[in-house]
Chain length 349, copies 2
Amino acid sequence: MTMIPQKKLTPVSALGEFGLIDRLTSQHKTSNVSSLKGVGDDAAVLHYPHNKILVATDLLVENVHFNLVYSPLKHLGYKSAIVNFSDIYAMNGHPKQITVGLAVSAKYSVEAIDEIYEGIYLACSRYGVDLVGGDTTSSAGGLFISVTVIGEAQDDKIVYRQGASEGDLLFVTGDLGAAYIGLLLLEREKAVYQKDPQMQPDLEGFDYLLERQLKPEARSDIIQLFKEHDILPTAMIDISDGLASEVLHICKNSCLGCQVYEDKIPIDSLTASMAEEFKILPAVAAMNGGEDYELLFTLKPSAYEKIKNLNIATPIGHMTDKKSGVQLVGKSGGVVPIIAQGWDGLKEE
Amino acid sequence: MTMIPQKKLTPVSALGEFGLIDRLTSQHKTSNVSSLKGVGDDAAVLHYPHNKILVATDLLVENVHFNLVYSPLKHLGYKSAIVNFSDIYAMNGHPKQITVGLAVSAKYSVEAIDEIYEGIYLACSRYGVDLVGGDTTSSAGGLFISVTVIGEAQDDKIVYRQGASEGDLLFVTGDLGAAYIGLLLLEREKAVYQKDPQMQPDLEGFDYLLERQLKPEARSDIIQLFKEHDILPTAMIDISDGLASEVLHICKNSCLGCQVYEDKIPIDSLTASMAEEFKILPAVAAMNGGEDYELLFTLKPSAYEKIKNLNIATPIGHMTDKKSGVQLVGKSGGVVPIIAQGWDGLKEE
């Protein structure tokens, strides 16, 4: 559990807006051929003569999406980029550029902002993405990070939420629920710490859960494997709001129903045991937790052979007609309708 | 002077995130051929096979860039789009799509958010831009609007800040300083109102100043005229931070100096008289005020004949070599160096 790291404490006001932008961006060179001009003018200049362009925007807001008591700033920068990359992979595309809108309290040190950007640049470098523009300003109410990602995909390879057909199989990559259980763990230790600052947080052995919450990855590897093995999902979405919410999106957009089998949902053993400690059914953490940034997709049954031996995704159900509804088939065979109860940043708490 | 309009007060929590997004976007149809798919999937899909793509991001943050005591929400939405369009015009391009990141307190009514979006859509419709995506979430610390604009320009028509040469003439469109004087006026009336809420604000006759501050326009007309009359500036920037700051950007990026003549700077008579009432030199309002969203550009002297009779821009100076510095020539002939003292959102107040 760390507080905001402030080693040297150069006030932002010592640099001003343009000095700060220079400091944050002067070291960064663009590397993609589609990035013709990055930071340094009124707009970045890009070129996509052959492929379609994908664009998505996601916000991270202090005390809504993260808490600075336990979110290291570098991780936060990393995550703010990753959650946007994930949206492009969910279209079967490749992220290529981002712009970053950052609003920080004028009381932040330059070094603190450096750490956020270090995380953003680390994510960019790992995923082959260029930072090409943005806006940095002060905030009277906490830290806001807004990232817009631009990516590309071949016209005939773009996968929407709407392409599934009745009988298609439903798959999910990785495992679910860990990010949410990681959040509960951090909240628990925060409460302990706030009650008694002498208490040391007990986070030993929970690395996997903490990383899934604080420093998630986006599934570029899956998109690469789809390409190598000539697999084209019929519909796809990334899991940001929880499995329930994403299944409902695919069903709604494809005008279908779905059956998801509770016992097929992939859940890591540490997630399951900690969920029980929090008195939460592991399946509920998977269905409603969110922030896993795994990919949920549908495939024609004829494509099953192609994916079976790759070990990259778990079949968890199949698409039905719309009238049959969107259902979770419980371990005992009972059936309940799936309702979105995902984390919703707009509900009053 | 209006408070946040809240007619019916439907809490945002009654709709949730997806319900709100549906409400805000379901009526909006995209109209540009480059917008293949708008809101409704993980990413929007665009297509720009022939032209270069321009991308810019600007943030508006409550109590930094606007004050809800005197900023009607619809105007605020309008302005958040306009300031972004202006960045694309400043490259001699045409804005075509935006994504909107909006963080609002959960206490906001749905109708209040509707008003912000009404303003955004009005700007989009006037300027021929499609809203294609975004993110709406709650904020624990005030209202935050992040807009990313995507536009296009022919490769050989893009104008950067860096293209000016020694001897080029410097022009500015419209008039300067009015947005800043409008802000001072609103701040004065806010102070009066806060001291005594019975006092009615005295804003009669100041429409021009108030509109320049609260509901600015971007100079699409100038870009159109450039095209019609085959005028291609050598360098260009929009005036968001004040003339001083923008002149310095062109000089720095073009590795040049500049002489700006104080008596040539176009200032509206109402701006000038109110500036005097605020005991500010009108030229200072123009140089350091900002938010005028006019275009500052340089032209080869040989192009002067083309622009002279169009009456779209005022020549205010000329580019010199770098060693000669960036200078303001006063009305009496005295010369002072131009230093950026523009409004800087990152300086502590």
